[in-house]
């Protein structure tokens, strides 16, 4: 990575650290499990990484490992969002 790109990405990184802290600082404990599950789904973005390395794979080994990475990432992202939605659909207000 070029130094200029690297520095601006580092900027993003540092700001994201603080945003991550700020954004959940007032969450009620009843939402801890759905929140953990929701953020769990968001790190399923590793699927992107899996797709990128598999697209560039040029050996059988790289294809096999890349394929496993895509399957894992895909299960993480889709399963994560679905299981979170299933938890949250049960939070209903008293009619």
């Amino acid at each position: 990575m070029e130094t200029a790109t690297l520095i601006s990405t580092l900027f993003i990184f540092v700001l994201a650290v603080f945003v991550g802290f700020e954004v959940i600082s007032k969450v009620p404990s009843m939402l801890h499990t759905p929140l953990m599950s929701g953020t769990n789904a968001i790190h399923g973005i590793i699927l992107f990484g899996g797709i990128l390395v598999l697209a560039d794979a040029d050996t059988k080994l790289a294809q096999a490992l890349g394929f496993v990475a895509v399957v894992f990432g895909s299960a993480n992202v889709f399963g994560g969002f679905m299981v979170t939605d299933r938890m949250l659909q049960m939070f209903k207000k008293k009619k």
């Binding site: 600082s25 953990m36 598999l54 895509v70």
Partner: protein, 468 residues
């Protein structure tokens, strides 16, 4: 599409993630928040950029067939997992998905490294970090999953364990350090494989000594680890959406872990290295209880007490989840409501196997969430409560945390069930809770035990309340 538009869209993706997490932290908007984050993910996937422009705009090749199959297989696994899991097993499912994400992060970094993409020490360093953290999150999550499934729940310890683990970690870090500056060395790939295997082993060694009761903290920590590994991958393959998403999860996960430890009044180091429950510290408190006996009662008496109370507080615990009795609790709540009894639920932050576990369980039975009160809110009102009904909770209502300095849970915030005028504890037997210590609450003068399976007892209670 021009690269400027793509960059702007990536900013939109990051914004959607932040708004999604923000909305997830309020009950009213949580469900939409999850969809907002999912929308961000979909947008990010559509505009994903490879080395030469949009990844979906390039000529089709065998690799793309593999990608498509991989996504579909993952989708099916994820959907089956998400929709077949029982509400009680939710924490395990999160652990499993987290482990898969960690494994993917480690594999992506490894492939980049082995392909010789580590041109600068910074890139190589990010790849080492992602591999190390990702693979220990993978193996650690699987152990956490197995522990929550009831396999080797007890902490596994041996003398010098922390020292041995420390040595393994030192070797791993040493290898990472060397690889960072010698990524093109002839032995780099071999050293890398050794590092990868040791990191997998370290994940197992790190989680094995921790008791099943502490798994929520471990899962939360591993969740934030996976986030950081994904962020490091983002640096290594120069994908800013991954950097933002991974970092958000890393920092919010770390905060969540600390909040959970705070609720148990234990420093995070104590959870990770303390091997809680193996100290046998509870033995000393047995002497105060000598000569005291517990008093039990039958369902009909309990039903009378509940029916003629003005205020009832229900304290649910893991026992309720095991008995799958959440619908019976709701029936009881409805029946008491008809008689004009005010029913509230006191939720301890670490009741169950995960923070919020009880909320999810009670929500499944359609219990409105405005009846659920947090510990801090309900404790000052406990001495006005007529009957406190404890269902399958144990350590979180143990007054030893306030009274007995020798108790291993001394100092942990608890729900002051013993302050209410009458306590009814529903329990299968006199077995100790997860912390393995005697519960002083059971021996109080205003406590009565209602022995039996929670579901059966609750059914009996509902019938008796209806009849009375």
């Amino acid at each position: 599409m021009s690269s400027t538009i793509i960059d702007l869209l990536i900013i939109a993706v990051a914004t959607l993630f932040i708004i999604g997490i923000k909305m997830l932290s309020s009950p009213k908007t949580a469900r939409s928040g999850n969809l907002v984050a999912a929308g961000g993910m979909l947008l990010g996937l559509l505009i994903l950029q490879g080395n030469t422009g949009g990844i979906w705009c390039q000529g089709w090749s065998f690799n793309y067939t593999l990608i498509a199959i991989g996504i579909v297989v993952g989708l099916i696994i994820g959907a089956i997992g998400a929709y077949s899991v029982k509400m009680t097993a939710m924490p395990q499912m999160v652990a499993l998905f987290n482990g898969l994400g960690g494994g993917a992060a480690a594999l992506v970094a490894s492939l980049e490294f082995i392909h010789g993409k580590a041109n600068a020490p910074f890139d190589a360093g990010s790849m080492q970090f992602a591999t190390l953290i990702g693979s220990l999150s993978f193996s650690g999550s699987i152990i956490a999953y197995l522990k929550l499934e009831g396999k080797f729940e007890k902490p596994m310890t041996f003398p010098g364990q922390n020292i041995l683990n420390g040595l393994i970690l030192l070797v791993i870090l040493g290898l990472c350090g060397w690889l960072t500056f010698n990524a093109t060395d002839g032995n780099a790939v071999k050293a890398f494989i050794v590092m990868f295997s040791l990191a997998l082993f370290f994940g197992i060694a790190m989680v094995m000594p921790i008791g099943g009761a502490d798994m929520p903290v471990v899962i939360s920590l591993l969740n934030s680890f996976t986030g950081l590994a994904v962020a490091a991958d983002g640096f290594a393959i120069n994908n800013r959406a991954m950097v933002v998403a991974g970092t958000l999860v890393g920092s919010s996960g770390t905060l969540l872990t600390l909040l959970m430890c705070k609720a148990m009044n234990r420093p995070v180091t104590n959870v990770l290295f303390g091997a809680f429950g193996s100290s046998g510290g509870g033995a000393s408190s047995g002497s105060d209880l000598a000569g005291k006996t517990v008093k039990s009662l039958q369902a009909d008496e309990a039903a009378l007490l509940l029916s003629y109370a003005q205020q009832v507080v229900i304290v649910p615990g893991y026992g309720l989840a095991v008995a799958q009795a959440q619908h019976q609790v709701r029936e009881l709540c409805d029946e008491l409501g008809k008689k004009g009894v005010e029913v509230r639920f006191a939720i301890h932050p670490v009741a169950g196997r995960m923070p919020g576990h009880m909320n999810v369980l009670l929500a499944e039975a359609n219990i409105p969430y405005d009846l659920l009160c947090e510990m801090e809110a309900i404790n000052p009102t406990m001495d006005r409560v007529d009957v406190c009904l404890v269902i399958g909770a144990n350590d979180v209502v143990n007054p030893a945390a306030r009274e007995d300095k020798s108790s291993p849970i001394y100092g942990m915030p608890i729900i002051d069930a013993d302050h209410s005028k009458q306590v009814i504890v529903m329990k299968r037997s006199m077995a100790a809770g997860f912390a393995g210590i005697e519960n002083h609450l059971f021996y109080k003068d205003n406590t009565r035990m209602l022995f039996g399976d929670a579901k059966a007892s609750l059914n009996a209670l509902v019938a008796q309340v209806k009849a009375s």
